[in-house]
């Protein structure tokens, strides 16, 4: 099918973007990589009076170190994340999540900000942002604000972004030495959204876990932190950890969605298994460092 008609704007500054969004009074939508928005327009699952294409706003494409964080502009494309040595070194978890997103032909357009703003419950980047406690920089008509990932996601495809706001950058904390990161997921076919998956960061000191971050995706209407499992890990010696038990603990309180691809119980089992596997790899990497 073909999309319904819309007005098209291609501004070059953030101020113009928010001005345009405001002038359409909630009837305009940001267009970033278009890899989630255009399918919905083509299928006429959505229609908007106007699209504001942020692809020509150069300020949204920068990557910089700021106060122990790596600040990644929202229009940085997923293929750029894949190819950037700087991002790979500073935020390994983001780099490792990237090959799991669709196919390389999707990643050549899809963006960091688009994936997070779209907030698909089974998407990888929102879980990475949540695991790492990233800060999201948002611009609106009255200025900018920063929101932590833990308050950003409010439901399936829903966030705290207002209709006249645009996500301009994501600030990912850079972890120190003796840390390890892994993403593990199960999808029906390579490139599909995951049935369930886990993004993990672990930091050790002298064989003891000092920092643990576990975010699960595909298991609720938003990505979720496995807080109890994290608490059980911190302070424990790596030797003797029961990773299978921690996997089960991580999903214990969840009631995952059910659809024709997987029952709720299957999603929970897959979730537990991905926690165990991701933790194993992250611990191994942290210990080797």
């Amino acid at each position: 099918m073909k999309p319904a008609p819309f007005e098209y704007h291609a501004p070059t500054t953030v101020d113009e973007v928010t001005g345009l969004l405001a002038s359409h009074g909630g009837e305009a939508k940001v267009l970033a990589g278009g890899q989630s928005l255009v399918p919905m327009l083509n299928l006429r699952l959505a229609r908007f009076e106007a699209l504001v294409d942020i692809g020509r706003v150069d300020a949204l494409r920068t990557v910089a170190r700021v106060n122990g964080h790596l600040r990644i502009g929202s229009m940085v494309r997923q293929c750029d994340v894949e190819e950037s040595a700087e991002i790979g070194a500073a935020v390994p978890l983001l780099a490792r999540a990237t090959p799991h997103i669709g196919h390389f032909q999707i990643r050549s357009r899809g963006t960091v900000g688009g994936s997070i703003a779209h907030a698909d419950p089974a998407a990888e980047y929102p879980a990475v942002a949540l695991a790492l406690d990233a800060d999201l920089e948002i611009a609106g008509p009255s200025g900018t604000r920063a929101v932590t990932a833990s308050t950003f996601f409010t439901g399936t495809w829903a966030t705290v972004l207002e209709a006249d706001e645009v996500l301009i950058a994501v600030r990912f904390p850079v972890w120190g030495e003796e840390s390890g990161f892994a993403v593990d997921e199960v999808a029906r076919r390579h490139g599909d959204f995951a049935l369930a998956g886990t993004a993990v960061g672990i930091q050790l000191r002298a064989g003891v876990v000092v920092r643990a971050a576990i975010a699960l995706f595909g298991l609720a209407s938003t990505p979720v932190r496995a807080a109890a499992a994290e608490a059980a890990l911190v302070g424990s010696a790596v030797a003797g950890l029961d990773l299978v038990g921690i996997g089960h603990a991580a999903v214990a309180g969840l009631d995952p969605p059910e659809d024709l691809h997987a029952s709720s119980a299957l999603r929970r089992r897959i979730g537990a298994a991905t926690v165990t596997r991701a933790l194993g790899r992250a611990l191994e990497e942290a210990g080797v460092a």
Binding site: M1, K2, E7, L31, V38, G102
Partner: protein
């Protein structure tokens, strides 16, 4: 209805047209440029039949609006064989029975070309991963896999 003037280079030729913003790059190529080698299967990013190169990167042309490609450089399957001869990837698809009806073939050829540009001698797994975003409903994938191996060999042989 508002229209926009777009200009882009398609297969090395400057193209200009007035288009509605909602016109996808795929429809621009097929309707305005009369380049019907780019096929449309699903129009929502799943099948890969519409794959073209934009500024050197393989991309779904059904998920990009022509207005977004303003000033860009597009290569379609027609642009991969500019002198009317089959290029090594196309020749390998023919030799290895990598196509039957041919509907999916332009997308596979563009994706395979992009894959081989970045990875001139891919393993079986790398080819499977690289082509996982393209669906074929009739040939079966084994011939396509062999075709990409053959293309890699013949391109490697040409270079050395």
């Amino acid at each position: 209805m508002s229209t926009h003037l777009v200009s882009m280079t398609v297969n090395g030729i400057e193209r200009h047209a007035r288009v509605e913003p909602r016109k996808t790059l795929a429809d621009f190529l097929r309707d305005d440029c009369r380049l019907t080698g780019t096929h449309l299967g699903c129009e929502h990013g799943v099948c890969g039949a519409c794959t073209v190169m934009i500024d050197g990167r393989a991309t779904r042309s059904c998920l990009v609006f022509a207005v977004q490609t303003e000033g860009g450089r597009v290569t379609t399957v027609e642009g991969l064989a500019p002198d009317g001869e089959l290029n090594p990837v196309q020749a390998a698809f023919e030799a290895e029975h990598g196509l039957q009806c041919g509907f999916c073939t332009p997308g596979f050829v563009v994706s395979a070309t992009a894959l081989l540009e970045r990875n001139p001698s891919p393993t079986d797994d790398e080819i499977r991963e690289g082509l996982s975003g393209n669906l074929c409903r009739c040939t079966g994938y084994q011939g396509i896999l062999r075709a990409v191996h053959r293309a890699a060999q013949s391109m490697g042989a040409r270079q050395s």
